[in-house]
């Protein structure tokens, strides 16, 4: 089987989701090529070439691909897909944006956000916010798949694949990048952090996030997450949302502060190795998944925690 993995990157570094998707691809068995589509992303291609198990890296360097907008990405990938039996990408906001477009161009039903591979046509994916797990068999000749990175370990580094520059076909220009506003943070990235501390509606303000959550995060070297309620209220940026419709995380340690534990939130964190919950309501549903629960007021517990660390 010939497999194409679409790398997630920002033209300067490769996200670690890519190595995880390579692990998933390896479970399908076959030759794995990695596509780096971007502008000035040669360094990223060299990084991808080091992932063990990669046959070759395809580098498509074009101004139209710089921001990986869905329309040119899908045109490029659908064209390359002629030579592959399966195309896999991380279920990042980027992969979720262009992959279904690729699937429709190829008349294929995408298999979204898989967490396991049973055979080269049978895949496992959560549905209903993870309250059920479906095993599905694809009848399509080509498989178009997005992969939930937290479900797979990163592939080893130790490869030395060749980087081959490719010329993209004519790319559509029906959309245009205008601006971006990226969250700058010196803290670890939410989806790859070993420890995540998340705050909920109970924090009450962005000032309280700064005063109570941030110092503990810094002592722990943790990334910061949040519930939808905290994001909707503007306490933290949208990209902090953990859950069914936000980010899925599975750190070694997840600390939920003042979060009730709605199914939509649990969907994004219940595969964490150790879960801690601090909530003043002893009946909060979050305690049903917590390894260690502390019934306490966060405004007294968090300063104590900061001191104890």
């Amino acid at each position: 089987m010939a497999i194409l993995v679409i790398a997630d990157h920002d033209n300067s570094s490769l996200s670690d989701a890519t190595g995880k998707v390579v692990t998933a691809a390896a479970k399908l068995g076959g030759d794995i090529d990695v596509l780096i589509a971007g502008k000035g992303a040669n360094g990223v291609a060299d990084e991808a070439a080091k992932i063990s198990g990669v046959r070759k890296v395809l580098l498509a360097d074009d101004g139209a691909l710089e921001k990986q907008l869905a329309e040119p990405m899908a045109a490029l990938i659908a064209d390359l897909a002629k030579d592959y039996d399966a195309v896999l990408a991380p279920a990042s906001t980027s992969g979720k944006n262009f992959m279904p477009r690729v699937a429709a161009l190829l008349d294929v039903m995408q298999i979204s956000e898989i967490v396991a591979i049973e055979s080269n046509d049978t895949f496992v994916r959560p549905i209903y916010a993870g309250n059920a797990i479906a095993t599905v068999k694809s009848a399509d000749a080509k498989k178009i798949i997005t992969v939930r990175p937290t479900a797979f370990n990163a592939a080893e580094l130790g490869g030395a694949a060749n980087v081959e520059t490719i010329t993209p076909p004519a790319l559509p220009n029906i959309s245009e990048f205008v601006a971006e506003e990226l969250t700058v943070s010196s803290r670890p990235e939410l989806q790859s952090a070993k420890i995540v501390i998340s705050g909920g509606r109970a924090l009450g303000s962005s000032e309280n996030f700064e005063k109570y959550i941030y110092p503990v995060a810094d002592k722990l070297g943790a990334a910061i997450g949040a519930s939808r309620a905290a994001v909707d209220a503007g306490y933290v940026p949208n990209d902090f949302q953990v859950g069914q419709t936000g980010k899925v995380v599975a750190p070694e340690l997840y600390i939920a502060i003042g979060i009730s534990g709605a199914i939509q939130h649990l969907a994004g964190m219940k595969d964490s190795k150790v879960i801690v919950a601090i909530n003043k309501d002893e009946d909060a549903p979050i305690f049903s998944v917590a390894d260690y629960g502390l019934v306490a007021d966060l405004f007294t517990a968090l300063p104590e925690l900061e001191n104890a660390l």
Partner: protein, 249 residues
């Protein structure tokens, strides 16, 4: 301009579904059904664009069982002008839904189709992108802001790193994220008025779309259960356990 808004009938977001004992699916008997929450946001956005004079007519479409009329009526009560129900007892996959929507778009010639980013039952997140591909239109997915800018549409998108704004030529596809707006509740008079708004009933055959699934569901099982752990009495005990028992600090 005309706007098309697809709305899906799904299990209400408050329901914690149960897997059937025979593992053929989840138990939907006597479970509360609602409009997919992201689709309520889509309807709200279309109605706001209409109120602002940008949109002239809103058509709500659902592909689903007879009962999906309830969700179309809700869209009509929120401010949509007319509805189309494409009746099927089969669970149509995203690709087939996108093909039906394409056929409707070719008939109705909307300038804008606003969908939810994700139906909360199957969690697939793909129909809008597929429709955009089939029509050859640009897409602004996971939108937190939509603005008409001359003959373009400016869409601000929620992405992993923050926010991104793209400019789309029209006609275009938008899919909604949670921060786009807060959907209104339909007032009683509007619910009454909605009953009189036109609602066409069609079938997939009318649009020449084959609903045979590409993905066969072999089984649906319970997720691994995570058992509740212990309650600790103090922060001190918590830190001690995390260090010595869990070994994560």
């Amino acid at each position: 301009m005309k706007a098309l808004v697809p709305v899906k009938r799904v299990v209400d977001f408050n329901v914690k579904v149960r897997v059937k004992a025979d593992q053929t699916g989840v138990d939907l008997a006597n479970v509360k059904m609602s409009m997919n929450p992201f689709d309520e946001i889509a309807v709200e956005e279309a109605v706001r664009l209409k109120e602002a004079g940008t949109v002239s007519e809103i058509i709500a479409v659902s592909i689903g069982p007879e009962k999906a009329q309830d969700q179309i009526r809700q869209a009509l009560a929120m401010g949509a002008d007319r509805g189309i129900l494409v009746k099927t007892e089969m669970d149509a996959e995203s690709l087939a839904v996108a093909k039906i929507l394409k056929a409707i778009a070719e008939e109705e010639k909307p300038d804008l189709v606003i969908l939810g980013k994700q139906a909360i039952d199957d969690d697939r997140n793909q129909t809008g992108q597929m429709l955009a591909a089939l029509l050859g239109w640009p897409q602004g997915t996971f939108a937190s802001e939509v603005k008409k800018d001359g003959d373009k549409l400016l869409v601000t998108r929620e992405i992993d790193g923050g926010l991104q704004t793209v400019s789309l030529s029209l006609p275009a596809i938008v899919t909604t994220d949670l921060r786009l707006n807060e959907p209104r509740y339909a007032s009683l008079p509007n619910i009454m008025k909605a009953k009189k708004k036109p609602l066409d009933v069609k079938t997939a055959e009318d649009y020449g779309v084959d609903l045979t699934p590409r993905l066969e569901v072999l089984k649906v099982s319970e997720p691994p259960k995570r058992s509740a752990g212990i309650k600790v009495a103090s922060v001190e005990e918590l830190v001690e356990k995390l260090k010595n028992e869990a070994g994560v600090l």
